[in-house]
Amino acid sequence: MAIAPIKKIQILGHQSDQEAVLACLQDTGLVEVTKVDETLLPDQPPAEKLADLDNRLRSLKEAIDKLGLYGAAKTSLIGSFLKARPIINPEEIEAAVNSSSYQPILVEIKEKEAKIKQLENQVKRLTADFESLHPWNGLNLTVSDLSDSRQTHIFLGIINQSDYVQFIPEIKSKNLPLFLELVNQIKQQRYLIMISLLEHKEEVEQIMRRHNFHFFILPESIKNEDSMRLTVKQGLILLQEKNKRLKLESDAVTEEIISLIPQRILLMGLYDYFFNLRSRLLAIPRLGSTGQAFLMEGWIRAGELAGLETRLKEFSALAIFSREALPSEDAPVDLKNKPYIEPFEVITSLYGLPARYSIDPTPFLAPFFFIFFGLCLTDAGYGLIMVIAALIFLRRLKSVRSAKRILNLILLCGISTVVLGSFVGGFFGVPVKQLMLFDPLKNPLIFLIIALALGFVQIEFGLLIKMVQELKQKQFADAILVSLAWVLLLPSLALIFMKLPWAKNAAFFAAGSIVLFSQRRIKNILARLAAGLYSLYDITKYFSEVISYSRLLALGLSTSVIAMVINTLSRQALGIPLIGGIVMVAIFIFGHLSNLAINTLSGFVHSARLQYIEFFGKFFVGGGRPFIPFKKEKIYT
């Protein structure tokens, strides 16, 4: 329980074993490897090997991402939190690494991708050509007719209606030998073909430019052997056919890429393999080296030392030393708790780990968090949903520890909600009268008193923990004269209201002790008493902290009232003719799910806040550095 003891470990071995030892450490994942601070030469990782690995990782990642884009399993929102990871046989990966059989796959994906890009660009270009040519489909000329002949020049152009009405009279007034035909009109645009003699080309062109003619140039894609003899209309059909062929071709290539998707899992495995190889190389500079031997230092959980030693037995030329951490050393902190407490480590870690020499608050906050969350959600139905969801996900994912911890926390919170919800709440907003201890809507005061009492107990508990810690550190005066005084003062103040005769005296003694001793470190006696008197002002702080627990009532009520509202609304929807039933079910499901979501969020956040601010404030000393063992990272698998 509490903070796991951590030992310093030193491994001394022959240089030739270095890589294998690192691999073994990474495999077991038991040791946090730290930098050797002796005056040994730090070993350099082989630079070209690292660069090569980086390259491989990059191309693997590219390939994995690309295959991902081509429709490898899409994940849902929840799925993205808890994705089931593919499982790959390590021997298969080993084989693939040794034979480099994966390289052709990478090349293939890259080439196919480039091919698709190229085809897509062609399709885009042809589509654009098709669209620009389409207005001219009324032209009854072949493509070759549209280029200049020996004596004539052909103008194709687009002009606005407003320019057109001025252009026609002007060009006619010139009396040039011209052929002019309106091919098409779309909205304000007029599509014109004009044929003039070559000698008049300049003159005609000038007039056209003055009237904002937009000259149309035949797209290159139509000016080739196949379509020279075709009319514009036929050319268009040809373009369309070409486009279709290209699309089919690109679809075929896409299919080929899709057929590679099953290989993605192997690529993922390889990525992780190389990634871990790389992190082994990167760990090398942390070791010390003499050229012949290497020295490795790190931290290990005391309980796992024996296990590591047996694992390292295969190396004959290896010496392992271990010792307790020195106070001056920056040893990491690791929490270790009983299985039913362990999920609550999530809450402690979210705040930050406790300092090395303090205590782990997890076992102390666990029962409070458990109850608080249940009171905030107060609906057995919602609790049941949480329990079922947590169980489903727990079954689906086997190994990841951090995800498991969170799921177990959800499971426990769900259980608490089911129990407390049936006593003071209901089942999807419908109170179960037989189970209910009291109706919080009719008697909110009872609930309020329970909430405040819970708060009072937790604050007292926090003060007690502080006192015990001071006793352990042999600060007896602080523990008895101040902390114990506070522990006694708060309940006796509360009891004064109940008119218990001795409560006054107890409160008086406790307060006196606080005034006299809380500021013992101040030399001047008057200043000390004044400061001690001022410390009594903390009573208001404790008062407001207890009041703060009233949020449990507000949050609990808000869940059950909203659940009731949803039921009322869905019942009223039944009145709608025909689709009433469907609307009712929709309102019921959607309403309860969103109520569950928002109240789980605020239930979690507020329960956690009560721990962090009201409870931790009493005794918690933060600043612990998390224990990060050197281990295999799993990016994809």
Binding site: L445, L448, L553, V561, I562, Q572, A597, L601, S602, H606
Partner: protein, 158 residues
Amino acid sequence: MEWGLALGILGAAAAAFLAGGGSSIGVGLAGQASCGVLSEYPDKFGTLLLLVALPGTQGIYGFLSAFLVILKLGLLGGSVPSVTVAQGLAIFGACLPVAVAGFISGVHQGKVCAAGVMMVAKQPKDFVKPLILAALVETYAVLGLLITILLLNGIKVG
């Protein structure tokens, strides 16, 4: 309609629209900020959603209080009790804590959440810390709700 009933309805309306307005502003602020972050890190949607949703609770508290008033006044069918002007005024007053505290804390919680969204962009693992900081702001909306519920519970109508 009597004046008392009208005053009660005014209270319910104020609770819903003031607290709802505060939440709208708050969720809006956090939502804008998270869109900015999402454009860089689309995979953070799940985490950011929590931060954006949190300022939404004030609106729910206001809605809930309004609904309690509606039940009290029997507006959802059933017989409408006679409400004196004093009772109506009392209901109106009882709605004010959740309405005003909800409005102001909704806006400011939104600001904290928006800042938290920026923080998540840089420190994705610490996403609970801004949630807790935002919950500190929410405390006062929760307390407002609590007082509103207790006051409403104390007012006897009809």
